[in-house]
Subunit: 470 residues, 2 copies
Amino acid sequence: MSFTIQNALIPLASGYATVDVRIEADRIAAIAPHLEPVGTVIDGQNKLLLPGFFNAHTHSSEFWQRGMIPPYPLELWLAELYDFTLFSPEQIYLSALATAAETLLSGGTCVVDHLVLIPGQEEETIAAAARAYEEIGIRAFIGPLIQDASLTESIPSGGKLLEHQPYARTTQETLSLMERAIDRFHRPEAGIHLMLAPTGMQLCSDALFEGCVTLSDRYQLCCHTHLLETRAQQLLAQEKYGYSAVQHLKHLGFLTPHTSLAHCVWLDDADIEILSETRSTVVHNPLSNLRLGSGVAPILKYRQAGVNVTFGCDGSASNDGQDLLEAIKIGTLLHNVTDTDYRHWISPREAIEMASLGGATGLNLAEQTGSLTVGKKADLVLYDLTNLSLLPRTDPIGLLVMGRPASAVAQVWVNGQTVVAKGKVQTIDVDLLRQEIFDRSQWQTNRQSAMVQQVEAHYRSVMGLLDDES
Amino acid sequence: MSFTIQNALIPLASGYATVDVRIEADRIAAIAPHLEPVGTVIDGQNKLLLPGFFNAHTHSSEFWQRGMIPPYPLELWLAELYDFTLFSPEQIYLSALATAAETLLSGGTCVVDHLVLIPGQEEETIAAAARAYEEIGIRAFIGPLIQDASLTESIPSGGKLLEHQPYARTTQETLSLMERAIDRFHRPEAGIHLMLAPTGMQLCSDALFEGCVTLSDRYQLCCHTHLLETRAQQLLAQEKYGYSAVQHLKHLGFLTPHTSLAHCVWLDDADIEILSETRSTVVHNPLSNLRLGSGVAPILKYRQAGVNVTFGCDGSASNDGQDLLEAIKIGTLLHNVTDTDYRHWISPREAIEMASLGGATGLNLAEQTGSLTVGKKADLVLYDLTNLSLLPRTDPIGLLVMGRPASAVAQVWVNGQTVVAKGKVQTIDVDLLRQEIFDRSQWQTNRQSAMVQQVEAHYRSVMGLLDDES
């Protein structure tokens, strides 16, 4: 199918132009003023056309827990999260749909789902997420969240001898599971990519990382992991390796141009040099880093070192939403307080490029998508510039990034297919989705996690927190 | 007119209850389950009822410049702002309507407009804003932005002898203007309050502050000012007074329980003690503080010292929107990275109270509004908990504060009057407003402010910024 977007505003290197954009099948075929219209004509007047953004790190199933977990640092927050009764594959399907819908309605055309697996139903979990993403029509990278250590091992021991439960699945079983999953679900031509995504150094053995590298090489897949999200993880890396986690991942061969690393809050200058040298991508999740008190990632330093940076919403239980424009805004403005020289600050146009081409680069897709370029895939978003939140007519990209767009996404295409039109998702029934989610949840407060009580005293002691209020 | 909201969810000290709420004239008359319905019945089922929030610091006219000013620190950003050709009273009217509309649709029922005055049309400016707020039906505090020094005086001299243009209006003329404005426009019974709002110590003489204190006493009005927003202002206070700006404002009698202070980023412990002792209110504007690189206000310290804190969006050219829920979210989460002990972090319920009762307290209205209390004014907001952004049904206040509510405000009453219903402003035609704003603006980029060029070299030198890229 072909169509032509007429009279849309697009950004040039400087300023804007009004152009027509012709899409043929799944690709951008032409961009120029006054094209001969081919196929359906889409009115782009008073609209801004941009490449789709990447929600480059999330955990879709956390949707079910959003709003619920009190303000805790990651290590205690995780204890709450894991305490929650999990999930049927049907719930996974619904939360993947909801995650995709919120991403699409905030300018995203691709989601990286670091997917929590239901124990004993691992393949059904991946199948459910893949089905959701294919139905709604978003481009998706699914990185099953794998580990081979139990949660208590993710907290530094502080020199104490602690006993840990063995993890439910062996390293080799996990790698076999991944290989089966790749075989069943990796279908880039349908917009569904699998990736190798060990949870992080705090919960994974060297053997698991190395096994992932092997599979990544064998199947030409991207890698993804959490990296140094918290100060506790920095302490743990010192305990575990005696040196930096980044150095260790480099030694394991995990850092490559198709590896993206969520968070990267606690890296030092030598670590940053390694990311630059290995051409790894940092996925900045500013909102969860604030919510969990993890810290402010040194994003301006990454950019100065030439490290590719893009944005993620992170899972909905640590944010607690999937508004990609909000992640881009806060991920851009937050760093203005980390460097007094405003000449280093991220401009709105740079933010847009980080969110689009930066995301594509980290997923080895920069040749395929991430910019308004003839020949690239038509992953496109049209913003309504007559929406109150994008008025007055000043600098549309300035307002899109630094403002608070509300229902401003008019139309979205992924792979040349219409996914959103007139501000509504067209491919699924969102009202039905809301009803299903409503029916499967119940307002509640005052959850008390037994697991938090188990780990809190140790956490406070290792992190040097005084019990001034107990 | 009376009405009854049936079966709404409201927060209790712990957990939630489903109740009916009866409003008689402008007041809450009863809150209890299964009330005998009186007047119109409003369906509150699957909705959360909260007191309206306060957008406790903004500058409505900046709406016209939003999206436009590049990432600059306050002092250079102001040079861009002032370079913009101002405004007719009609534009002031439109931007006040737009500011109020965005505030209402994000949970606000009261706005504090630190109003930029059109030179030579000062009273017309105030009249236009007052007319807008009365028409749309939001409770409004208008603090005409007054000063008696020119902009260049707001940048520390660094010991250099600088020449400044005299300000266009004398101190006495400004105070006379304020007295006329109070006489004409201060009508609390109509929901329009005037306040005394000198711009800040960086642009105001002692005589202007003292004149404001006198008028505040004479007419029983609130006071408002910017306070130590930037490091440059802290340096300037040292140059100007030889000691802290907070001490100085205290000596001038400006700090009282009905004084609210926007920003308060650069205060030390002794300053915080003064705010506590004088029972002044801090208005936290987290988004503009990030956008302008001003810093992170020590909000957790304020709370520990017992200082009342509430939230503002700040003007739309430094944010660049008026989504109060966004200001509350970021103003809550941001501080988790400033204190490793999560027991000091602000909980969602505390954030809600800061935004409602905290706002009322700073405006000397805590007896009148700011909580769901029988006898108080009916300034109420009903949130639709079936909205996708407030699903699943977990902890509604957790999700409202830490999530990203999108079009979640269903109904708003101010003073017992319906202002928003079914998610739409009822009192004005927002589509017509959008059209007017569209017609009066033009997309543009690459503005070059001559004023920035004038002050930038001096600013960089005083702030110790190296010209590494020039």
